[in-house]
C-alpha cells in the first residue's frame, strides 16, 4: 500500500512503498525483488534524499548487538536512534561522540549523511568515530566495511546518502563523560566580524555554535549569540526525561511571518544580552532544543520548508558570508532559526559535506520566491568555492552538485564496483545526475 512520504522539511513529497525488512534474509529478498530503492531511516534528513517510489526502511533493525561499557564500544543495528543510544549509554558514563541537532536520527542515517555537530572543529564528523560497519550490497551479500577493509566502500558509504547499499549495523567508539549536564556560556556578538572572531578565539572550546539574526541589516548585520559548551564534571549522570510538547496540526500560513520573526529575533537577542551568560543545562536542552517540540516542522505550514545549509571555505572568509547574509536580509525571507558554525578540516569521504570554513543553516518556508532565492544563493556559494549539505538539499541542480562535490566521479566508480548503480537511487540522486 503506497504511502505519502517526505523528509523532515515536508517538501517534496512522494508516493512510496515502504518496505520494512525484519531480518537480513528478508532484506536480501526485498533487494532481489526490487529494481530500485533507497535506504531510509527515521526520515529526518530535510529534503528528498530518502524519497523514492520504493524505500527500504530500517525501522525494525533496532537492536543492540554488543556494548562494552568499559571501553565505550557500542555495536547496534542501523535503525537504532541516537535518542535511544543516549538512554542506554549516558547513565553508564558515555556519550555519542558527534551528534546532530536532533536526537531522533538513526545511526544508519547519521552515517549516510556523515553528520556533524557543534564539535566539528575538534572531533570531525560522525563517521570518524565508526570502527566498522556491516552493510548489504545490491546483490544481497553482507560485507564488513572499515578504514582497513573495503576502504573505498567505507569512504563512499560515509556521507554517501544511502546510495552504496543498506547499512545493517555499526560499531561506534563512544566518548566518556562524568556528567549528563553541559556548561553553556553565551556571548553576544554585535556583528558578523565579532562572531567570527569569537569562533577563532574559542577554538579550544569543545562545542561552539552561534545563533545568528538573519534579518538584522546595516551595522547590525550578522549579530549573533555565540554559545560555547563543555561537558560538566559534576552533577551526576541522571537523565531528566521530558515529555515533548507537540504541534498537533499544520500552522496557519500567517504564523511565521516576517514581523513575527523580527520581533522574536530581537527579543531573543536582548534577553540573552541581559541575562546571565553562564548556564548549566541537561544535555537534551543543550543539544536538542527542538526535540522538545514534537513535529515542529508543522510550524512552517502545509507547504513545508527548505533548510538551506551551505559552507564557505576559509578563503571566502567573512566577506563571503557578509555578501550572502546581505542577499538573505534583502530578500525579506529571513528565517526563524539560523545557525552559524566554524568547521574544522574536511575528511576523506567522497561526499562528506564539511570543509574548513563557515557553515550557515537557515529555514525558508517553501514558496516560488524562496526557490528563486535559493538559486541565487547557490550561484554565490559555487563562486566562493563552497557547497550545499546533501542532507538538507531539495533543490540543488546537477551542475551545482558536480561543481561543488568534485569527488562525485570517484563516488560513482565505487558504486559501480559494488553493483549499486541503478539499484540504489533517490529523488535527490536522480536530480543530481547520479546513476
Amino acid at each position: 500500500m503506497p504511502m505519502n512520504i517526505h523528509g523532515w522539511g515536508r517538501y517534496p513529497r512522494i508516493e512510496a512503498d515502504v518496505l520494512l525488512p525484519q531480518t537480513n534474509s528478508n532484506c536480501a529478498r526485498i533487494l532481489q525483488d526490487t529494481p530500485s530503492c533507497i535506504p531510509r531511516g527515521q526520515g529526518r534528513s530535510y529534503g528528498d534524499s530518502a524519497n523514492a517510489t520504493q524505500v527500504l526502511q530500517s525501522t525494525y533493525f533496532n537492536h543492540y548487538i554488543q556494548f562494552d561499557a568499559s571501553l565505550g564500544l557500542l555495536t547496534c543495528e542501523a535503525g537504532v536512534t541516537i535518542h535511544e543510544v543516549l538512554d542506554l549509554i549516558v547513565p553508564r558514563g558515555w556519550f555519542i561522540p558527534v551528534t546532530p541537532g536532533s536526537s531522533y536520527v538513526s545511526i544508519g542515517g547519521a552515517i549516510a549523511s556523515d553528520v556533524h555537530g557543534k564539535n566539528h572543529h575538534g572531533s570531525g564528523t560522525f563517521s570518524q568515530h565508526i570502527i566498522e560497519m556491516q552493510m548489504m550490497l545490491a546483490s544481497g551479500e553482507i560485507v564488513t566495511v572499515s578504514r582497513a577493509q573495503l576502504s573505498d566502500l567505507f569512504a563512499a558509504t560515509c556521507g554517501g546518502m544511502g546510495l552504496t547499499g543498506m547499512i545493517l549495523s555499526a560499531t561506534l567508539q563512544l566518548m566518556s563523560i562524568q556528567s549528563s549536564q553541559i556548561e553553556q556560556k553565551t556571548m553576544p556578538a554585535s556583528c558578523l566580524e565579532a562572531v567570527c572572531a569569537g569562533f577563532e578565539e574559542n577554538k579550544g572550546s569543545t562545542y561552539s555554535v552561534a545563533w545568528i539574526d538573519c534579518i538584522a541589516t546595516g551595522p547590525k548585520l550578522g549579530r549573533s549569540l555565540l554559545m560555547l559548551g563543555e561537558h560538566a564534571v559534576t552533577g551526576g549522570l541522571d537523565m531528566t526525561p521530558q515529555k515533548p510538547l507537540n504541534v498537533p496540526v499544520d500552522a496557519p500560513d500567517l504564523l511565521l511571518n516576517q514581523q513575527f520573526i523580527q520581533l522574536f529575533n530581537t527579543l531573543y537577542y536582548q534577553k540573552a544580552r541581559l541575562s546571565s551568560s553562564q548556564q548549566r543545562l541537561s544535555y537534551g536542552a543543550y543539544f536538542y532544543p527542538l526535540d522538545q517540540i514534537a513535529n515542529w516542522n508543522r510550524l512552517y505550514g502545509k507547504a513545508g520548508f527548505i533548510q538551506y545549509q551551505f559552507v564557505l571555505p576559509s578563503a571566502a572568509g567573512v566577506q563571503g558570508l557578509r555578501s550572502i547574509l546581505k542577499t538573505i536580509a534583502a530578500s525579506g525571507k529571513g528565517s526563524f532559526l539560523a545557525v552559524l558554525k566554524a568547521f574544522g578540516e574536511h575528511n576523506t569521504n567522497y561526499l562528506s559535506f564539511p570543509m574548513a570554513g563557515y557553515t550557515l543553516a537557515l529555514d525558508f518556508k517553501v514558496s516560488p520566491e524562496v526557490i528563486a532565492l535559493v538559486q541565487r544563493l547557490d550561484a554565490m556559494v559555487i563562486d566562493m568555492g563552497g557547497r550545499i549539505y546533501l542532507s538538507k538539499d531539495a533543490l540543488m541542480s546537477e551542475a551545482t552538485f558536480k561543481a561543488t562535490y568534485p569527488q562525485w566521479e570517484q563516488f560513482e566508480v565505487v558504486r559501480a564496483k559494488y553493483g549499486a548503480i541503478g539499484k540504489f537511487a533517490s529523488q535527490q540522486s536522480k536530480r543530481l545526475g547520479l546513476q
Binding site: 500500500m1 515502504v18 520494512l20 525484519q22 525494525y60 537492536h63 543492540y64 548487538i65 554488543q66 542506554l88
Partner: protein, 245 residues
C-alpha cells in the same frame, strides 16, 4: 525481579513489552519460531538490562512441545511468575473464505494453541497460588465483522476462554489480563493503510505492562477502543448487516 515467559517474543508488541521488563532488570524466557531473531532479541535485551534472557525456539502450533517448553522456562529462570502470550497471525479473510484448511489453521494458531498453553500455565500457577498472565486478544473478537471474522472469531474464543480462566483462578491469587489492542503499527499490519486510530507498539506495550502489574481483568489498548467497540457491539443487526466494517 520478575521471572517472565513471553510466547511470540518476536512480535512487535511483545518485543516492546520485553524492552520495558529488561529495563526493569527482570529475567526473560523468550519463545518464538525463528531462532535467529530470538538470538538478536537475547543480545539486545541483555544490553538493555535484562538480568537473564533465554531463547527457546518453538512453533506454538506444536502443542506437544508446550509442556517441555514450560519445564525449560521454570528450570531456566528458577521459577515463573509472569506470562505474556502474544503470538498470532493476521489471517487473510478472503483466503480463509476460500480454504477450509487455511481457516482451521488460522483458528489453531490464534486460538487453540493459546488455549493449550493457558491450560498448562493455568494449572501451574493455580498450584503455586500466584502469578500474572497477560494474553493478547483483539478488539476484532468483540463482534464478527465481514472484513475479518475468521481472525475475529479465534480472538473471541480467546476472550471467552480467558474470561472463564480468570474467574477460576481468581481464588488462587492468579491474575488473567485479557488485552485487546486496536490498530497497532507492526510488521503484521505493514500492508494496511494507517490513519489516526493507529498506535505504536511501544505505547501499547507500556499500557499492557501497566495493566498486568495492576492485575486488570480486561484492557483495551489504547483505551479509546473500549468506546468504539461498545458502539460497534450495540449496532442492531438489521443496520449492521447493511454496513461495511
Amino acid at each position: 525481579m520478575k521471572k517472565i515467559l513471553i510466547i511470540g517474543a518476536s512480535s512487535a508488541i511483545a518485543e516492546a513489552a520485553a524492552r520495558i521488563w529488561a529495563q526493569r532488570g527482570d529475567q526473560l524466557f523468550l519463545v518464538a519460531r525463528n531462532a535467529d531473531r530470538l538470538n538478536t532479541l537475547v543480545a539486545d535485551l541483555r544490553i538493555r538490562g535484562a538480568a537473564e534472557a533465554i531463547a527457546y525456539p518453538m512453533d506454538a502450533n506444536h502443542l506437544e512441545r508446550h509442556a517441555g517448553m514450560l519445564d525449560a522456562a521454570y528450570a531456566g529462570l528458577g521459577g515463573l511468575d509472569t506470562v505474556l502470550i502474544a503470538h498470532g497471525t493476521l489471517s487473510n479473510q478472503k483466503e480463509c473464505e476460500a480454504s477450509v484448511e487455511l481457516m482451521v489453521s488460522e483458528v489453531t494458531t490464534n486460538a487453540v494453541s493459546v488455549m493449550a498453553l493457558l491450560t498448562l500455565i493455568g494449572n501451574r500457577f493455580e498450584a503455586q497460588g500466584s502469578g500474572r498472565i497477560g494474553i493478547i486478544s483483539s478488539v476484532a473478537g468483540d463482534r464478527g465483522r465481514a472484513s475479518n471474522y475468521v481472525y475475529g472469531s479465534a480472538k473471541a474464543m480467546v476472550t471467552a476462554f480467558t474470561s472463564g480462566l480468570r474467574q477460576r483462578l481468581h481464588r488462587s491469587n492468579v491474575s488473567v489480563t485479557t488485552i485487546k489492542p486496536g490498530f497497532v503499527d507492526t510488521p503484521m499490519t505493514a500492508s494496511l493503510k494507517k490513519g489516526p486510530l493507529w498506535a505504536k507498539p511501544a505505547a501499547v506495550a507500556a499500557q499492557i505492562v501497566k495493566a498486568m502489574d495492576a492485575g486488570k481483568s480486561e484492557v483495551y489498548v489504547p483505551g479509546f477502543w473500549r468506546w468504539i467497540m461498545t458502539i460497534i457491539v450495540l449496532i442492531p443487526n438489521r443496520i449492521f448487516n447493511k454496513i461495511q466494517l
